[in-house]
């Protein structure tokens, strides 16, 4: 298990006008691990992800990537660092095929002509590295794919660029049982390939099935970040709904104080 986090957030604040959405949030993402980011609706998960991906600028706090403090001001900055986000709505073009979607906006060119062959080979290479065998042809239109296959394409698109951190926003939300299993397997494989994976999910079964660490947000504060093996299902639910569970989480009397429960503190 890696000792230093790949991506580390400390003391992140974010307000929209008078409403402070994130209070002093910290999060560590380790290479080769799946970190689940859980929290109720409105807890600030999406805002946090958008801060990491550069869609929102943070008001205070530091972002450290591979040991260096970085400033992420736009999605381009995040991509340049190797941070990719797969949003819930996937952002795929139905009228384009798998290869075209995977390279959208970053097409390989040969002079002014698109280098379709190289792109097709690279796309196939990436899908193979993820052990994806569920698509019939790389030249299939995305409109003809099932929900799970689309999710697979979106994930494959995010790892095509030697990305180091992949953030997945509810990848299994709209999927059936078999497809959920497939996507979770893929999520696990991303981490096994050495990437730092952040998985946002509402489904506790999914969270416990694949994640190494669980970070629970409660009303814009990081209630706890713990190892998945150290906590139970119900403890996480309590963290999500109440912000604390036993000696875990936010102290009841002074909720503004942030307690970073590092793995070592948890018995």
């Amino acid at each position: 298990m890696a000792a230093t986090p790949l991506l580390e957030l400390r003391g992140i604040d974010k307000s929209f006008g008078p409403v402070q959405v994130l209070h002093d949030v910290g999060l560590s993402v380790y290479p080769g691990e799946v970190t689940a980011l859980v929290g109720d609706n409105g807890a600030g998960k999406s805002t946090l992800v958008k801060c990491i991906s550069g869609i929102y600028n943070i008001d205070a706090g530091t972002v450290t990537f591979e040991g260096k403090e970085v400033a992420v001001h736009s999605p381009r900055d995040a991509s340049a660092l190797g941070i990719e986000v797969v949003y819930q709505d996937l952002a795929l073009c139905d009228n384009l095929d798998i290869v075209q979607n995977m390279f959208l906006g970053r097409e390989k060119k040969n002079g002014i002509v698109l280098d379709e062959d190289t792109m097709e080979e690279m796309a196939g290479e990436t899908l193979r590295s993820l052990s994806v065998r569920t698509v019939k042809s790389l030249r299939q239109l995305v409109s003809s794919l099932s929900g799970g296959q689309r999710q697979t394409v979106a994930i494959a698109k995010s790892v095509l660029w030697n990305s180091k951190v992949v953030i997945l926003d509810e990848p299994t939300a709209a999927l059936g049982v078999a497809q959920t299993a497939q996507v979770l397997e893929l999520v696990r494989r991303l981490a096994d390939n050495g990437l730092g994976v952040v998985l946002i999910s509402h489904n506790m079964n999914d969270v416990f099935a694949v994640s190494d660490r669980i970070a629970a947000l409660y009303l814009g504060r990081m209630a706890a970040q713990v190892k998945a093996s150290d906590v139970t299902h119900s403890q996480i639910v309590e963290l999500i709904t109440g912000g604390r569970s036993g000696n875990l989480g936010l102290p009841p009397e002074k909720p503004s104080d942030f307690i970073d429960i590092t793995p070592g503190d948890v018995q």
Binding site: P75, L96, Q100, G105, E121, R128, L138, L145
Partner: protein, 418 residues
């Protein structure tokens, strides 16, 4: 037929397509709602058959065949430009009168200002580009729906055309070069050279693509299909050239009239250029992406606004060429140049050819095939002595049919996931 399973470079298991499986796949796509140009090609065949039976002497003559190209040129050019706008799910209702304005500017420069064609023609093209830029900026930057912007421009350009022509006078042009564009034909020798260049070029592109992909072990279309495509194009082009190089003058002793009309290579050149741009360049890929899912395109870092402006520029630029050609054909410009049914014929051509009104689906070749359908209807019904009223009604119905086919195919496609 045996099917061999191969593992492609990507490690994705795939069945190597054979001629029969390729045909089956194509048919499955058609049934799934991906019709492409099929309805237009079938329509063209049926219409040609009907008019050939009804008017074998006039419709089937070489003279009339050559006329079809000259008559259809303006609609085909505007339709080619409209394909780009339609790909984004937008519309340009002003393209007809934009072509009229550009044609009028060329005519005025040629006559009143006494300038040469090499000043007047670029000036007309530049006017088209400026018009497109204005429309595109209004749509993309101000966010006004293109329907409203171009409807306003439709009225505005009609007014500009009337003003340019000082209340409706007719300007005749005498410039030989401009008149030759959409009236004259190439010599018989050049006609054959053009035909052979087209066939060899097409064969080269197709075979080269097959060879390159096969060498990298990527899935290719079966060689049989590739050869059939090349053969089909060769037969079509040679037959057409053979007809067009016949003597078609009514009295050949006075003026000989034979060869492929000059406008054919002009159409072919733009067809090749725009097909290349849409299919093989990053720009084209981004046009499809914006038309398919604007939000996805934006997140992929594609400059959506610039793409949106650019399609209006291309559309008006093509309309300008259409305007030059129609002025060339009539050797004059009047307040109705580019007016009446031209715009609806052009939209009809693009849609009948298989371009979707919902955006994201279409090719430049659609405009040419659809334009051929429109030209045949207009020409054939004219020869059969139908009144313009009937012709409008029939063309309207055909446009409506094409739009229904488009909408139904789309519904079917979303139902079958194709």
């Amino acid at each position: 037929m045996t099917t061999t399973t191969t593992t492609t470079a990507g490690g994705i298991q795939a069945v190597k397509p054979t001629v029969s499986s390729h045909v089956r796949d194509y048919w499955a796509r058609v049934r799934g709602g991906d019709l492409g140009t099929l309805p237009a090609v079938l329509g063209l065949l049926v219409l040609t058959l009907i008019f050939s039976v009804a008017r074998p002497d006039t419709f089937l003559s070489a003279l009339n065949f050559a006329n079809l190209f000259n008559q259809g040129a303006q609609v085909v050019f505007i339709a080619m430009g409209l394909v780009f706008v339609l790909l984004l799910g937008e519309i340009d209702l002003s393209a007809g009168f934009a072509s009229g304005v550009c044609g009028a500017i060329m005519a005025i420069l040629l006559t009143d200002e006494g300038m040469a064609w090499y000043v007047a023609v670029p000036a007309a093209l530049l006017t088209g580009i400026v018009i497109g830029l204005v429309l595109g900026v209004l749509v993309a930057k101000l966010g006004i729906p293109s329907f409203v912007v171009t409807l306003a421009a439709f009225l505005g350009f009609q007014g500009i055309l009337l003003t340019l022509l000082e209340g409706g006078k007719n300007i005749s042009i005498t410039d030989e070069f401009v008149r030759s564009l959409n009236n004259d034909s190439m010599s018989v020798l050049w006609s054959w050279v053009f035909t052979i260049v087209c066939i060899v070029g097409f064969a080269f592109v197709q075979l080269n693509r097959y060879r390159r992909r096969a060498s990298k072990n990527l899935i290719t279309d079966p060689l049989g299909i590739v050869l059939m495509r090349i053969g089909g194009l060769a037969v079509l082009f040679i037959a057409a050239t053979a007809v067009l190089t016949q003597e078609r003058a009514i009295n050949a002793a006075i003026t000989s009239l034979k060869g492929v009309p000059i406008v054919v290579p002009i159409i072919a050149a733009f067809l090749v250029i725009w097909t290349f741009v849409l299919g093989r360049t990053t720009y084209g890929r981004h046009v499809y992406a914006v038309g398919g899912n604007t939000e996805a395109a934006r997140r992929a870092g594609i400059p959506v606004d610039r793409i949106r402006i650019s399609v209006f520029v291309i559309c008006s630029f093509m309309a300008a060429i259409g305007g030059i050609l129609v002025v060339s054909r009539a050797s004059s410009v009047d307040p109705n140049t580019g007016g009446s049914n031209i715009l609806l014929y052009s939209v009809g051509a693009a849609v009948i050819g298989g371009t979707s009104l919902f955006g994201g689906k279409g090719k430049v070749i659609n405009a040419v095939i659809g334009g051929a359908v429109i030209a045949v209807i207009d020409n054939g019904m004219g020869l059969m002595g139908f009144s313009p009223g009937t012709r409008y009604i029939v063309t309207g119905l055909i446009l409506l049919t094409a739009a229904s086919v488009d909408a139904l195919a789309r519904r079917r496609a979303s139902a079958t996931g194709n």
